[in-house]
Symmetry: C2
């Protein structure tokens, strides 16, 4: 069964995409090559026609997840008035929906701690994507000088990531919602003027297609 030129690329992309979801759900070591291939409708034997090693797939899948998030926030910012951009991102990030669906959510929260323990190659690849994301967020604060905007973007990212992680540890009950509230308020207070809608239920996915 020999396939057309694009077929291999499509298959490769499908494996990466599915892996990026399952790895975020189960952790960087929580799912094996065989199951990852099954996700893409293949058997494990074909894996090494696409990747040099399991680690190579992990690196690609992490990069994919980070790129999708960065792109998602960038698009969300694009359709939002400049002064509300950071606030809108925070509100879309710190939601019960995001907390309860790590597979389609932020790779930093889901995999960041594990990444810091991986090989330098994996860690550095992830760090580069992290910096890209921070840069993109800094661009959403044009009213500040570059360096200050970067600092604010880093702090906002840290608060969002930390809050989401604490909320996931707490499960999905009252404590968890309390944590989301606290983090949202803190990140909003620092990020920008709270929008009029700041106290209403967040609207994640309303103006931007849900990530898949």
């Amino acid at each position: 069964m020999r396939y057309s030129k694009e077929h291999k690329l499509e298959t490769h992309a499908r494996i990466v995409k599915k892996a990026s979801v399952r790895l975020r759900e189960k952790g960087a070591h929580g799912i094996g090559v065989a199951d990852l291939m099954k996700e893409a409708g293949l058997t494990h034997g074909g894996f090494y026609a696409h990747f040099d090693s399991r680690e190579a797939l992990v690196i690609e899948a992490f990069a994919y997840a980070m790129d999708r998030s960065t792109e998602r926030w960038r698009k969300l910012a694009e359709v939002t008035p400049p002064k509300d951009r950071m606030a809108t991102i925070v509100e879309n990030y710190l939601t019960p929906l995001h907390r309860d669906d790590p597979g389609h959510g932020c790779a930093i929260t889901a995999l960041g701690a594990e990444v810091s323990r991986e090989s330098p190659k994996t860690r550095k690849a992830f760090a580069a994507k992290l910096e890209q994301m921070v840069d993109m967020l800094a661009e959403q604060i044009p009213e500040l000088p570059r360096k200050a905007a970067r600092k604010q973007a880093m702090a906002a990212t840290a608060t969002m990531v930390g809050t989401l992680m604490l909320a996931r540890i707490a499960g999905s009950g009252q404590l968890s919602d309390e944590i989301l509230d606290a983090g949202r308020e803190a990140a909003l207070g620092r990020a920008a003027q709270p929008r009029s809608a700041a106290k209403k239920a967040p609207v994640r996915g309303a103006s931007i297609p849900a990530r898949r």
Copy 2:
């Protein structure tokens, strides 16, 4: 070789203590039972005289790490003027030393994301310890009403945890230090008045014995 009554308890405690370090360093699944026992100077066969399963040790080790951290911050607050307490904790938390020594550092940052994927039993045990830590921190903000203090404690914890995680992803270079700076500033700005020493090198371990 039959031992005295206390001997088993001492051995048990030693296994838990050593495991809490190695698990924070290597991740919740990054080190095996045999190596954990070797850390305590024992062989793997004796493990099940002390624990029902590997997971049981993991739960104890996580609880131990969280208790030590909570106690550490509580003691540090005790020797600090009330209005500087949160700031002092933040300064002691967000340091290159802490970033580069996860084994003796915060279990939330090192293991939180993995915990959220573990069994409900493990996750709930960890969540209970997290809430204890938040309560302890809230007590360090007596000038606020209970609920507001809790919120602030949660937000500060989230910012600290998130910042430390981002800094570890970034390694130990310039980007990483920039992240620590940004997080410190954000957490301080929210936590309390920055101390006069806020811009100097942090003094982690100066007034409080280093954790071991």
